[in-house]
Symmetry: C2
Subunit: 491 residues, 2 copies
Amino acid sequence: MAKKLISREENYSQWYNEIVIRADLAENSAVRGSMVIKPYGYAIWERMQAELDKMFKETGHENAYFPLFIPKSFFSKEAAHVAGFAKECAVVTHYRLKDDGKGGVMVDPDAKLEEELIVRPTSETIIWDTYRKWVKSWRDLPILVNQWANVVRWEMRTRLFLRTAEFLWQEGHTAHATKDEALVEARQMLDVYTTFAQNYMATPVLRGVKTENERFAGALETYCIEALMQDGKALQAGTSHFLGQNFAKAFDVKYLSKENKQEYVWATSWGVSTRLMGALIMTHSDDQGLVLPPKLAPFQVVIVPIYRKGEEMEMTIAKGKEIKAQLERVGIRVKLDDRDTQKPGFKFAEWELKGVPLRIAIGPRDIQNNTVEMARRDTLTKEFIPMEGLQDKVLNLMDEIQDSLYNRALKFREENTSEANTWDEFKDIIANKGGFVMAHWDGTSETENRIKDETKASIRSIPLDYDESEEGKCIFSGKPSKGRVVFAKAY
Amino acid sequence: MAKKLISREENYSQWYNEIVIRADLAENSAVRGSMVIKPYGYAIWERMQAELDKMFKETGHENAYFPLFIPKSFFSKEAAHVAGFAKECAVVTHYRLKDDGKGGVMVDPDAKLEEELIVRPTSETIIWDTYRKWVKSWRDLPILVNQWANVVRWEMRTRLFLRTAEFLWQEGHTAHATKDEALVEARQMLDVYTTFAQNYMATPVLRGVKTENERFAGALETYCIEALMQDGKALQAGTSHFLGQNFAKAFDVKYLSKENKQEYVWATSWGVSTRLMGALIMTHSDDQGLVLPPKLAPFQVVIVPIYRKGEEMEMTIAKGKEIKAQLERVGIRVKLDDRDTQKPGFKFAEWELKGVPLRIAIGPRDIQNNTVEMARRDTLTKEFIPMEGLQDKVLNLMDEIQDSLYNRALKFREENTSEANTWDEFKDIIANKGGFVMAHWDGTSETENRIKDETKASIRSIPLDYDESEEGKCIFSGKPSKGRVVFAKAY
């Protein structure tokens, strides 16, 4: 039997790493900071992609693909943007290798690029350079484009899924005739992300606006969703930016309006990444391993036949196939684990570690009784249920587990959201309890930075759904505040 | 009215470029040799991806993701592989930019990598470095993995879709316990590609084996499918490689067999890329523009309402919506072009250029008569047909058009496949008629190279489906030949 996971209590960070590795989600590669996403992990990501892609298309977006490489000079065109990304850019300087005469290869010094190319950390610059060619008149607007791509940000401290040098994501880039339309788009995509997080990932998220400090490099406004992990730390799960006319001005993208005037175009961009995998893992998993919401689980049900070799084996596997076919007919994703190389106990532990929502075991006695043994991953409870009506039972359980995971996570967040009204109270909560802390802030970057320096807690957002009408005094400076903001330590 | 395309007759190469640009498939970017795939082009690629992905999964493969960057030293480990790819590698040497003090940015010389990273031109090396960790015993085999990814090969002369510095593709990488199993896999994937090309792209392909000269760098055997374009040139549409134990030996990937012996693992890799877009365009399109097979068309039917403003507009658009809903109920992809900013003639030309298989026009008279006007893109024929039974009619036409495109392309290929029995005959056909030329060859690289030098025709493959039993004499050297091979000029 494989060794148990370390518990969350004992070492949360190691627990996370062990789940990622042992549930076959991802692993480190030979390239510093770059991960390999393994088939089981990738299957979850594919389900996320499929659902998000559907939602993007339903809101009128189309996919396209832009170059991986961005000419270095493009980065200087938007001042805030380059300041934000310059320190973490992978740079291509040469385009050829040659024999080094020692059995290896070396970079060919004769193949130096005139202008270095940056491996995209995000694609605003190359895309707005392209949009200049696409936009002439108001008839060409809006442009509602999304791209599924890999990006590279040279992070110094990396963690699987949460922070990697290369990651997979989608980046939407839209162009609009008016400021209002762009603002509506940015908010709409925040709603799409919220719906996805809550309905598919079963992860409650807090919607808000970033402070100037935490804004995307080049944005006028960054909307975000923040989720709370089980260790009381926040994780930014998605962002949607209102970019104003910054990139249109940097890349000279104008359109002829209905009124026959040349106007700069308004922009948004928005993205979520494989980081969502980290959020998913840390929201639901327990000391037995991964827990997956049914809507994103590659297998929603695993069937394990229990037998002694011979006739029992044939009979239970045949029954397993029958149940599999029956469940698949109503759209359930089923794995029949009929490996003859592993014992049932091993299989139980493996699928528990991999977070399959429901396990069905069938032995000869079950066949006789016309029942199956069913185990729920979320509650770790078991029951015998009759074969008759199994389809409906499983379909209902899918919904029930999905809802129950969401409600459990919501309850956790509610229990771990506090109000702080004094500086001492604030420090105490951040240091001891963790979680989201709603507190008054005077609105200055200076105060925000000093609070972060002293407590490691940052302002996650100025929340959109929290009562903003309440005025008060900044917990740190005592100066007037227009409403509470959300503080937390964050990933 | 927009200007007509140049004709194939007049300038085939320009005709191709004009279709790619004007049908909104792709365009050149600011980065040398890298293209932007526009939404309409990307929608076709997405359909290709979806169908291929389904076929890969049906044959037991899973998707995964491996790093974009490959340490330089990995390339030296397989001698033939590095020789094949070293000359076209983009190399990352630095990981940071800094302010250049002149309002721009420069590469930070303090941020030089100890070992340079290669942007993957293909992923055998990084994947086999990973497989070493995944494989211990025969129980871990086979590994049947595919990756959808971008790759970079620094081509000096590029053409949209056909040859670009960065392109999108899938690369399958499988690991097997035995040579036979790997050979069966390589052949199976060639069959998958063949089925896809013929059934979805409506493109007939010739299946064969590459000569040593044309083999993938690191393969023992390269299987390929070759399609014939309308200008008589061949296009390699997909390859599947039997890699033997080359990469297992280079990366020390061994397994413990059932007989308790350490054995090297056997490998295959196989891929198709956005190059298929080029094949699709050049197989079917005509002087009016793109022609798409219904199975890959983003829109299979476009509906254009014909009206004078006012009541007619309302009425014809309402009817258009009704027909759209009706067709969508049976799974047909429909675009209703209700733009009020363009005239019907403009719309007709646009959708013709974009290759939509069927166009339905509805005017007030049609509504009165309970008919529609239907135009087929492949034959450019029109007919009035009754509204009643429209669904079935359209469904049938989808199959008919799909088949008819395939048969037309097959007929073209048959008419442009010749046998040559003397050197003069061979040169004459290559220079004047083009197409596939079946001729005897003595089996040596020397002869192959000399024929290529003199005529620009290369051996596309030793065909699998052509009668190989016929012996003869090499058209160039007169030496004995075991069977005919396929020569052609190629993209």
